[in-house]
Structures are given as structure tokens and as C-alpha cells.
């Protein structure tokens, strides 16, 4: 038993480290975590391949009975639709934003679940990825707000209800992407660290799969849902108010 623990100790020593690739560009350095980029592309490839494979069986006349794949996909899309776009204020906005929000959900979900596989890191364990996604949502919501309300009404939204509330409103806008990204990053990376510590220090058998089930699959699904639904809420608030 003691041998197992001593063999695993190396895992813990490299817990906080990331594989960094340094690219020198004109005297400056670009530091890249290649593992995150690789995993990000794996996640995207996985989603695209599965989508193409599932799409293939669906070429059939509309009047025929749906086959099993189509019925399953219908149910899944219906679930996503009822859970996510029911929170939009208008039907038009919901129809426009549903592809973006459901893609965000699928990407985060597959990223979180891929962290359960040994030797693979979730891309969402890197703050850069989650911050990027959160900034995407921020810019999208503000662009939509400008387009829907016009630049004048959009700018007036910052000095409501009173002009001296302007700093408060600006801080609120900055805090949105920060809390949005930190939440996902913190949950996923803390789950990974906890599983590794328990695996190395306390119980190398039986317990880690259960912890992975809870922290990887269950919390991963909940956090993906929360991320998507917060994106819905932010877009909605920016466009509506």
C-alpha cells in the first residue's frame, strides 16, 4: 500500500504546473499553454464529428416516421430549448440567440466531461478559456444592445437611475465577465485538484471514480448549464433594460 502512495507522489508535485510553450516574437515572448489549445481543438473536433455522424441518418422525407436518432435529437433539442431560451424576453431574440447559447452549453459540457478521462485536461481548467468565453458573451450582449436600442438609449442606460450611479454601472459591467469566468474556472479546477489530492494522498482505489463521477460529470453538467443560462441572463438584461 505504501509503495502505491510513494509512486503517486510525483503527480502531486506537478499539480499546479502547466506545460508552457514560449514563442519569442520581436524581443517579446508569447507564452502559450499548448495542452489547453490541443484540448480545445479536440473538444471542437469531437462536437463537429458527432454532429456530422448524427446528421447523416436524418436524410429522409418529412412525412415518414422519425427514426430513433431523430427522435432522440428532437427530445434533446426540445429540452435545451425549453430550459435555455424560455428565459429570453422575446420570441424573436430567443430564436436568434438559441444556436449561440446552446453551442456555448455544448462546448463547456464536453470540455468539463473530457476532464474525467485520464491524461486529458479540461480546457475549462484554464482561466484564459473561460475568460475568453465570458468576454465573447459580454461583447455580444453589448453589440446586440446597441443594435436594438440605438446608441443614444444604450448610453443613457449607464446613467440610470441617476447620473452619479455611472461608476457603479461601469463596475457592474466589468464584474460580469469576471464572475462569469471565475465561477466556471474555479469549480472545474477545484474539482480536478480535489480528485488528484484524494487519489494521491488518501485512497488510490475505488474512491477516485466516485469523486470523478460527482465532480467531473455532475458538477460539470451543472456548471455548463449555469454558464449558458447566465449568458442568457446577461444578453437578456443588456437588450431589455
Amino acid at each position: 500500500m505504501h509503495e502505491i502512495f510513494s509512486q503517486l507522489a510525483g503527480l502531486l508535485a506537478h499539480l499546479g504546473e502547466k506545460p508552457i510553450l514560449v514563442i519569442p516574437v520581436l524581443g517579446a515572448e508569447i507564452r502559450v499553454d499548448w495542452m489547453t489549445i490541443l484540448m480545445s481543438w479536440i473538444v471542437m473536433a469531437l462536437i463537429v464529428v458527432v454532429a456530422v455522424l448524427l446528421r447523416r441518418g436524418l436524410r429522409q422525407p418529412v412525412e415518414e416516421k422519425p427514426n430513433r436518432v431523430q427522435a432522440t435529437l428532437d427530445a434533446l433539442i426540445d429540452l435545451l430549448h425549453s430550459q435555455l431560451s424560455a428565459n429570453f424576453s422575446s420570441e424573436d431574440l430567443a430564436r436568434k440567440m438559441f444556436p449561440f447559447v446552446s453551442t456555448l452549453f455544448l462546448y463547456v459540457l464536453v470540455s468539463n466531461w473530457l476532464g474525467v478521462v485520464p491524461y486529458l485536461d479540461s480546457p475549462t481548467r484554464d482561466l484564459n478559456v473561460t475568460l475568453g468565453l465570458a468576454l465573447l458573451v459580454l461583447f455580444l450582449s453589448h453589440t446586440l444592445a446597441v443594435r436594438r436600442k440605438g446608441i443614444k438609449r444604450y448610453l443613457r442606460g449607464f446613467i440610470e437611475p441617476y447620473p452619479f450611479m455611472l461608476p457603479m454601472n461601469l463596475v457592474g459591467e466589468v464584474a460580469k465577465p469576471l464572475s462569469h469566468s471565475f465561477r466556471l474556472f474555479g469549480n472545474i479546477s477545484a474539482g480536478g485538484i480535489l480528485v488528484t489530492v484524494v487519489f494521491v494522498k488518501f485512497a488510490p482505489i475505488i474512491v477516485p471514480p466516485i469523486l470523478n463521477l460527482v465532480f467531473g460529470l455532475f458538477f460539470g453538467a451543472i456548471q455548463a448549464f449555469v454558464f449558458a443560462i447566465l449568458a442568457v441572463a446577461y444578453i437578456n438584461v443588456a437588450v431589455e433594460s
Binding site: L15, G16, Q83, N87, S179, F182, R183, F185, G186, N187, S189, A190, I193, I222, Q223, F225, V226, I229, L230, A233
Partner: protein, 91 residues
């Protein structure tokens, strides 16, 4: 007695004290930081359950709103977790 303490103390360097302080700070940060979100999420769950018991047909909407509210409540706990991680692995 005094000489003994001094000889022990001379073996402890500043780096050792910094390491000890790091671990203690991470523990305090997580322990105190988890109190608020825990109470807040408990309150949210309790009231959502109240609502579900009164109106079972509203269960879907209540569950969704509860999870969303809990996720937002949780963010202060996540901040303290991030600070604990920074203390443990970065500082």
C-alpha cells in the same frame, strides 16, 4: 529553557515561516469563505422547496431559478477558493 527555545528557533528560517503562513492562510481563507455561500445557498434551496411544496406545477421554473441564484451566490465562495489556490500554488 530559553537556550533550548533559541536553538530550536535558529533552525527555523524565514522561508519556513512563510510556508507555514501560506498554508494557514489558505485554510482560514477557505474555512471562513465557505460560510457565507453555504448559508446563502441553503436559504435559496429552502425557499425553493417551500414554493415547490405549495405549487408543485411550478417545479421546473423554480428549480431553474434556484440553480441560477445558487450559482451567483456561490461566486463569493469561488473567489475565496481562487485566493486559496493562488496562496497554495503561486505565491
Amino acid at each position: 529553557m530559553l537556550q533550548e527555545a533559541q536553538s530550536v528557533a535558529s533552525g527555523i528560517s524565514g522561508a519556513d515561516i512563510a510556508t507555514a503562513a501560506k498554508y494557514i492562510a489558505a485554510g482560514i481563507c477557505m474555512g471562513i469563505g465557505a460560510i457565507g455561500p453555504a448559508i446563502g445557498e441553503g436559504i435559496a434551496a429552502a425557499h425553493a422547496l417551500d414554493g415547490m411544496a405549495r405549487q408543485p406545477e411550478m417545479q421546473g421554473a423554480l428549480l431553474r431559478t434556484m440553480v441560477l441564484g445558487q450559482a451567483i451566490t456561490e461566486s463569493t465562495g469561488i473567489y475565496s477558493l481562487l485566493i486559496a489556490i493562488v496562496l497554495l500554488f503561486v505565491v
